[in-house]
């Protein structure tokens, strides 16, 4: 049932400014309800997605199991840059009304807490009002998480390259995921190349990518399976692979997994932004991500890093405030 409809009879019982207050609450709920959940995701996906990918697809295949040549990488980088701009624009536009909704909800809470604010209404209604306001806060919070993730695309602060022990960095992240999935009987295997040596990269950014990939791998396995994390040196530079024994990815999905908001997880379990953020980060570091998977064969995500620090991209003229 639409919460706004549920509140309508209550609105009829109060007079004067209180009626306006309830109407405002209803409007807030409709707004918050409309913004939250899959409809927001769908709206943003359409806006941020279609244009960029329609354009990019015409020119290059989606990152798949094949190695990308230099041209494709360039297009991928351009695609990510365009996506960053669009995401930041949309996130910024939505953050402003979100902030207004949040403030209205706070104001409503304040009004409701005033002595005599709901003397005319029955106590059940007051309780329901408080609950629905709490819902507005919760849903606004959810939207904020989404817009926050979208802004992560466009964060333009330059990468900071530091000599990084890749195996150790991965070990930290594996331990975190391992603890959480021990009850599901998922075994985490480590296969690190002892000759890899320190990798010049941004450890903060690589941690994000690693944790996302590990979390995805564990969720793909679900129960009873293996996640293998290996490091090594590919033809272009250092790399690491997260391989799982999950159900694998269908060819149709393989083309879409890096698209923002594309998710196969149940609603509320994933924003569908994890992999697209991983790819954006890898691209920013001058690397890329490839995936090797087929139904029934598990999936392997490989993050390729450049052998030397990448020249920093010039700061864009326009800065989008978060």
């Amino acid at each position: 049932m639409n919460p706004a409809t549920a509140l309508a009879p209550a609105a009829g019982r109060v007079a004067g400014w209180r009626a306006a207050f309830f109407a405002l609450l209803g409007a807030g709920l409709v707004l918050a309800g409309g913004l939250a959940g899959p409809s927001l995701a769908a709206l943003l996906a359409v806006a941020a997605g279609i244009g960029v990918w329609a354009w990019a697809r015409r020119q290059a295949p989606a990152p798949g199991s094949a190695n990308l040549d230099i041209n494709e990488r360039l297009i991928q980088a351009q695609k990510m840059a365009a996506l960053g701009e669009i995401s930041a624009g949309i996130a910024h536009e939505i953050n402003t009304p979100l902030a207004v909704i949040g403030q209205i909800a706070e104001w409503q809470e304040h009004l409701l807490s005033q002595p005599g604010a709901h003397s005319a209404a029955d106590p059940g209604v007051a309780k329901e009002l408080a609950d629905t306001i709490a819902q507005i806060h919760a849903q606004v919070g959810r939207c904020r998480d989404i817009t926050h993730n979208m802004l992560a695309f466009s964060r333009r602060s330059d990468a900071i390259y530091q000599d990084t022990d890749l195996a150790r960095l991965l070990e930290d992240m594996i331990r975190l995921v391992e603890r959480e999935h021990r009850i599901n009987n998922i075994v985490f295997l480590r296969e690190s190349d002892p000759d890899l040596g320190p990798v010049p990269t941004d450890p903060q950014l690589v941690r994000q990518v690693a944790l996302n990939l590990l979390n995805n791998a564990a969720q793909a396995v679900g129960r009873e399976g293996t996640v293998t994390v290996s490091t090594g040196r590919g033809p272009d530079g250092p790399c690491f692979t997260v391989r799982d024994t999950g159900p694998g990815i269908t060819p149709e999905n393989l083309e879409r997994i890096f698209n923002p908001f594309f998710t196969t997880k149940p609603p509320g379990k994933g924003t569908g932004l994890g992999l697209s953020i991983c790819l954006a980060i890898a691209t920013r570091l001058g690397g890329t991500i490839t995936v090797d998977s087929a139904p029934g064969k598990g999936a392997a995500f490989t993050v390729h890093l450049p052998p030397t620090p990448q020249p920093q991209a010039p700061e864009p003229e326009r800065r989008l405030a978060p």
Binding site: H148, N149, D158, L176, Q204, N212
Partner: protein, 132 residues
């Protein structure tokens, strides 16, 4: 090179006191705070390179504190410390700009190295900022 200035924020006073003692002995300047608000207040009046921040704190938790801290002091690097880490809070912390996410208990040598790396970044951040 100037001593590394560390702020450790944890609601367990025993932990922060011991941390301060051990890391001061290793040549760092250590300040302590028992809550997110107290930590932010310290940052408002003092230069700090690295904040070691507990994830689980009452009232204002580590993630909330991190969000506010990065907003006000983007140059300061943060190491999240947790006795009971979760993947969710790890993802959140890192995406909010935490440099590292470390589980308790830690080895002092290991933590020293992490703080050193975080401090290098903080100083690079400051150099890059115009007028910083």
């Amino acid at each position: 090179m100037a001593a590394i200035r560390v702020l450790v924020v944890d609601d367990e006073a025993d932990f922060t006191a011991l941390f301060a003692k051990r890391f001061t002995k290793r040549g760092m300047e250590v300040a302590t705070a028992s809550s997110g608000a107290e930590g932010l207040a310290h940052l408002a009046g003092n230069e700090v390179d690295v904040v070691v921040l507990d994830v689980m704190m009452p009232v204002m938790d580590g993630i909330e504190t991190l969000k506010e801290l990065k907003k006000r002091h983007p140059d300061v690097e943060v190491i999240m410390l947790t006795g009971h880490g979760s993947v969710d809070s790890g993802l959140k912390g890192l995406s909010l700009g935490a440099f590292d996410y470390v589980m308790k208990p830690f080895q002092i040598e290991d933590m020293l190295e992490r703080i050193g790396k975080a401090c290098d970044r903080a100083r690079i951040n400051r150099q890059r900022r115009p007028g910083g």
